[in-house]
């Protein structure tokens, strides 16, 4: 018998549904009480596990993502539960109140799902396509860079410095994202480049 069998499906399976129900009407038999005492089915059965690291603080607790669907197998995966990884040397499976609720962050109602644009003076966002958004950015960056990049300083030294466009980098992205970001930002000449180390 599978452990996630609920009381009702068990009754159905054994074909004892009718009998047990009438037994119930006649009075509560021990057999019925025992069947009903079945504990809740274990909800992680048949989920896919993925090892990950908590995205909040720098303790970097090991976590396991439990998803319905296997991303590695090309399926879509929906996160159903997050739990501390007991094999991890730092947290040994434990999690803080934030880490224990990571699922709710990933699935927050206020997660963004579509690029949005706010026009000057508007009081709301409107959805736009990725292409539109990215082209707008590329054009804005180029225009600003062409107009304001300081190629050489007063002494004639090549400085390739752009101070009118700035970039504030994240705090929870990967090293790999950071490196890709560094390359792009610096190639544009941006010096107003900072991260979240101070706040």
């Amino acid at each position: 018998m599978n452990i996630d069998l609920s009381r009702r499906s068990f009754l159905k399976l054994t074909g004892a549904g009718v009998a047990a129900t009438s037994l119930g009407a006649m009075g509560f038999g021990q057999a019925e009480a025992r069947v009903a005492a079945h504990v809740r089915g274990f909800k992680l059965v048949t989920t896919t596990e993925t090892r990950s690291t908590c995205t909040y603080c720098s303790v970097a607790c090991g976590i396991i993502l439990y998803s319905k669907g296997d991303l590695a197998a090309g399926e879509t995966a929906e996160l159903s539960h997050v739990e501390g990884d007991a094999d991890h040397p730092t947290n040994r499976g434990t999690l803080c109140p934030k880490g224990a609720a990571l699922r709710d962050y990933v699935k927050a109602e206020t997660r963004l799902t579509h690029p949005r644009y706010r026009a000057p003076g508007a009081d709301r966002f409107t959805e736009i396509s990725w292409d539109e958004a990215l082209d707008k950015i590329a054009r804005a960056v180029k225009e600003d860079r062409d107009a304001n990049l300081i190629e050489k300083n007063a002494d004639g030294v090549t400085v390739n410095r752009l101070t009118t466009t700035g970039f504030l980098a994240a705090s929870a992205t990967t090293n790999e994202t950071a490196w890709a970001t560094w390359k792009v930002v610096r190639s544009l000449g941006i010096v107003g480049f900072d991260n979240q180390a101070r706040v």
Binding site: G24, A25, M26, G27, F28
Partner: protein
């Protein structure tokens, strides 16, 4: 002639043989409503009172239904009885003859009617039943609402004392004890009605025979006879 022993609506219906109207239609309906409520409450309450009787919840569609039904019926009973109370409390006030009657309970049981004093509409037994029921229904209602789980937030907001767990524990005990007494009274009431032949028709047809009235409630009969004799012919 002023009514002392009878209620408005009590009258001699026929004279040969004598039939006396004892309860009006409304009162009878209300009485049976109260009776029905009591039976439902008794059965559903017993189901919660004692596990071997839990099967009784099946009569009402299961434990959860029984749980919500019980207090709702309790409220119906409370108001139903309240009407009876308003109608009958005056006639149930104790009188001197009640003491003598009560002292002679042995004669009552033995059927020695001759030794008993003449009585009004109700005897001491009935009066005890009346006041007992009234008291117990109040106790059951008060303790009942205190343990009415679905209303607890209301008490917590408006009468926190009632909602406290120690108070609720006492309420549960009071409710159970009162229910026990209520059941005992109920048994007595039913049995007395059956044992005292000719009684049940008072609550079914609304009338009793003249002999019944003469035997059990002679002052009442006298008063009615006196009032109707004095009044204009019908």
């Amino acid at each position: 002639m002023r009514r002392v022993y009878s209620a408005p609506g009590d009258r001699i219906e026929t004279r040969r043989p004598v039939t006396v109207s004892r309860y009006r239609g409304f009162t009878r309906v209300n009485h049976w409503l109260a009776a029905a409520c009591t039976i439902v409450l008794l059965l559903s309450g017993l189901a919660f009172f004692s596990p071997p009787l839990f099967f009784l919840t099946a009569l009402f569609g299961g434990g959860a239904t029984t749980r919500w039904l019980h207090p709702v019926i309790g409220i119906v009973l409370f108001f139903s009885f309240l009407v009876l109370f308003i109608q009958l409390w005056r006639l149930n006030l104790p009188r001197r003859e009640d003491v003598e009657w009560a002292r002679k309970t042995g004669d009552v049981l033995a059927g020695h009617g001759k030794n008993l004093p003449e009585l009004g509409k109700f005897n001491a037994g009935q009066k005890t039943m009346f006041w007992g029921m009234a008291g117990l229904i109040v106790a059951l209602s008060v303790s009942g609402v205190m343990i009415w789980e679905q209303q607890i937030p209301l008490w917590r907001d408006h009468a926190p004392v009632l909602a406290s767990i120690p108070a609720r524990r006492i309420a549960v005990a009071v409710h159970a004890s009162a229910a026990f007494l209520m059941i005992m009274l109920f048994i007595l009431h039913v049995y007395a009605a059956i044992w005292t032949r000719g009684t049940i028709r008072a609550m079914t047809r609304g009338t009793v025979t003249g002999g019944w009235a003469f035997r059990h409630h002679r002052k009442w009969l006298r008063e009615l006879a006196g009032r109707q004799g004095a009044g204009p012919a019908e």
